[in-house]
């Protein structure tokens, strides 16, 4: 590639667009489905129910400790499909690229997407690129849409949750949110905080093993653990009680959040799952999760109550009980 930055001409649909696709994207992503370069991907689907999910990724900085926007765009959609109980199969992607973005960065992002997709076992089968004028977007925005197949007998919808079910979170909460904040604002901590950005494809094994003993799963991204618990409490018409002391938070994240006046329970995660599980299976599942590296710090954080419906309560370290509400507006550090 002769130019080293994205020009408006890269979005013209002509020769320069073709070159960009050939030399950056196709090279990284090539597979037999994408190869014929048709207007769309033609897929052979196994029998069964499909899950479909879409997500758009806008993040500053594009590269951060623990990942980059490319890896994130694969993990995010894959985790959404996994939360539906599906085995992710195919992804489409669309790029909105800002004029002036170094092509080397775009290549790193494409390669990171390819690497993550390979690890997970999903294929990027169709894509699109658009270029917008400088200032119209921030570096690059990426959308991915994924489809996956749901095994027979799996139905992870909130109404299946029953009083007595246990709530598991698969590891430390708040790492991603704090890592991004720290990177963006130039905050440094004595223990570096790294994003948890990961595709939790190992959970497919748990789905296969535990089947309908798992009632529901959701990945606690924006709004964090607290927001997801509230969403589910409302959708399932149940009450949830969790214990503050049981929620895994990395010491560095806790320390930094205390300093900034922020709450890790409201900070984004990109490699965690909240699982609602029948009480009888909870301990075995927890044991199995501890054997897998991305879920090694999983913990049972609480349980489902008959009521009050739609309400999440947290028992503080002191033994008092208070509401764990949903995030309103933006989560910002204190001024003091």
């Amino acid at each position: 590639m002769t130019q080293d930055r994205i020009l408006m001409a890269h979005g013209s649909g002509g020769l320069m667009s073709q070159r960009l696709i050939d030399e950056v994207f196709k090279q990284a992503w090539q597979n037999e489905i994408m190869e014929p370069m048709l207007d769309g991907a033609i897929l052979q689907m196994p029998a069964g129910r499909l899950a479909m999910s879409t997500d758009s990724f806008v993040i500053t900085p594009l590269f951060f400790p623990g990942g980059d926007i490319g890896k994130l765009s694969i993990c995010g959609t894959v985790n959404d499909l996994l939360a539906c109980g599906a085995t992710p199969l195919y992804l489409s992607t669309a790029f909105i690229i800002e004029e002036g973005l170094p092509i080397a960065e775009l290549r790193l992002i494409a390669e990171s997407m390819a690497k993550t997709a390979r690890e997970v076992g999903v294929k990027l089968v169709t894509g699109d690129t658009k270029v917008v004028e400088k200032g119209s977007c921030d570096g690059v925005f990426i959308n991915t849409t994924g489809i996956g197949i749901i095994p027979e007998g799996i139905d992870y919808r909130p109404p299946r949750i029953q009083p007595g079910d246990k709530v598991i979170v698969t590891g430390y909460v708040g790492d991603h949110g704090l890592a991004i904040l720290a990177q963006r604002e130039g905050l440094t901590f004595s223990t570096p905080v790294v994003s948890d950005c990961a595709a939790l494809y190992q959970l497919e094994e748990m789905v296969a093993k535990y089947g309908d003993a798992i009632k529901c799963m959701r990945d606690p991204t924006r709004g964090g653990l607290a927001t997801v618990l509230n969403e589910i409490a409302v959708q399932a018409g149940i009450g949830i009680r969790v214990k503050e002391a049981a929620i895994p938070v990395a010491p560095a994240v806790k320390g930094a959040c205390d300093m900034l006046g922020m709450d890790p329970l409201y900070m984004a995660n990109e490699g965690k799952m909240v699982m609602f599980v029948a009480a009888a299976a909870a301990r075995d599942l927890l044991f199995d999760l501890h054997q897998l590296s991305p879920t090694a710090n999983a913990a049972i954080i609480g349980q489902v109550d008959a009521g009050p419906s739609g309400l999440v309560l947290i028992e503080t370290e002191l033994g008092a009980e208070r509401i764990l509400g949903i995030l309103e507006g933006e989560h910002v550090p204190r001024i003091c």
Partner: protein, 360 residues
């Protein structure tokens, strides 16, 4: 949490619960407001011990007139305003910074005032205004920013100073006979800068105990316990619970930095009105970087928000649920007053962490 820590906290709690007299203790720091609400301590105390929230949230105590003046400025002048995130949603009489931004005003959120300098460097053709808000903890960093701006010869940078200092407001609260405060949970961060001296003046004059307290649940329990012990013995001293951070002399270097750049001035506080020497304005040497002087910003009359009792809440005269708007017309999603906007405001803390039945 280890069992030893848990046992210790339970013992402290029991000692506090067994206090016989009645005591109203006030904290004056947004971080305390949040920490107390989050820990659930209030619900575990007997009715004879009350925890009040005072004017501890810098966003909340900013007067309505000052907020309106800032909004008017971004409407009328072509400049870049850099501010802390909490200020974005605070409602002015007719608009908020968030609304102004959605209509095209160039308003940027920063985490450090030094970010505003970067914006000024990157936009030499534009005037860049930093909205300076906060108490003694934040002000030294603003002072350093101004010194740096002078060093670099930045001509397009100025600070709209809404800075305030804590002690004059505390004195007003202690002297107001309508406000019943028996002891003060003093702010940990602010005290790390100002030290014990300003509180000693208060304890001598008003005979009320002060304990400089940290922000962990255990710190707060110890702070309350220490205040109750003094009340029991009829003492009024300044004690430091938060010794791992606060030294009796405070941080003289931070104070000197502040004094090099700022001088005391009268300031309007929401709920407390004009308090002499409770604000900070830029010294003459920095007049060129004083937004108010640079752009001739007018003083705007204080228009109270109808029905909003933030003023009474800020002085501990009423508890948030006693406000007629609380939880009905005023919620964190649709806040009427600043105490519901700021995430360290008393109303927001109460609303967020109190079970539904307590929400009014």
């Amino acid at each position: 949490m280890s069992n030893d820590v848990k046992d210790y906290q339970q013992q402290l709690l029991q000692a506090i619960q067994s206090f016989n007299g009645s005591a109203s203790l006030m904290e004056v720091c947004g971080t305390h407001t949040m920490a107390i609400a989050k820990s659930g301590i209030r619900g575990l105390l007997p009715p004879n011990i009350k925890l009040l929230s005072g004017p501890g949230c810098p966003v909340c105590v900013t007067s309505q007139g000052d907020i309106d003046a800032v909004i008017l400025m971004v409407q009328q002048k072509d400049l870049i305003l850099v501010t802390f995130g909490d200020m974005m949603r605070v409602p002015g009489t007719y608009s908020s910074l968030q609304e102004e931004r959605s209509q095209g005003a160039d308003i940027r959120v920063a985490y450090s005032p030094l970010d505003a300098l970067r914006v000024a460097r990157e936009n030499p053709q534009k005037e860049v205004v930093f909205l300076g808000i906060g108490f003694e903890t934040t002000t030294p960093t603003i002072a350093i920013t101004l010194e740096q701006a002078v060093k670099e010869g930045l001509k397009n940078f100025s600070v709209f100073s809404l800075h305030k200092v804590v002690p004059p407001a505390l004195e007003l609260i202690f002297s107001d006979t309508d406000i019943k405060v028996d002891g003060l949970i003093c702010p940990g961060h602010v005290s790390a800068v100002i030290g014990v001296k300003p509180y000693e003046i208060l304890t001598d004059k008003y005979k009320k105990p002060c304990v400089i307290t940290g922000f962990e649940t255990q710190d707060i329990l110890e702070g309350i316990y220490m205040l109750l012990q003094q009340l029991k013995k009829d003492e009024a001293r300044v004690e430091i619970q938060y010794g791992r951070v606060v030294k009796p002399e405070g941080n003289p270097i931070a104070r000197q930095t502040m004094e090099r750049v700022f001088k005391p001035a009268a300031a309007r506080w929401r709920g407390l009105g004009m308090i002499p020497a409770s604000g900070l304005e830029l010294r003459e040497e920095y007049a060129g970087m004083d937004t108010r002087l640079k752009f001739g910003i007018p003083e705007i009359e204080e228009l109270p928000i109808k029905g909003c009792a933030c003023g009474e809440v800020l002085t501990g005269k009423i508890s948030p649920p006693d406000c007629a708007l609380f939880g009905r017309a005023c919620t964190p999603l649709k806040p009427v007053g600043p105490c519901m906007v700021s995430h360290e405001g008393s109303c927001a803390a109460f609303y967020r962490y109190t079970p539904v039945k307590g929400r009014g």
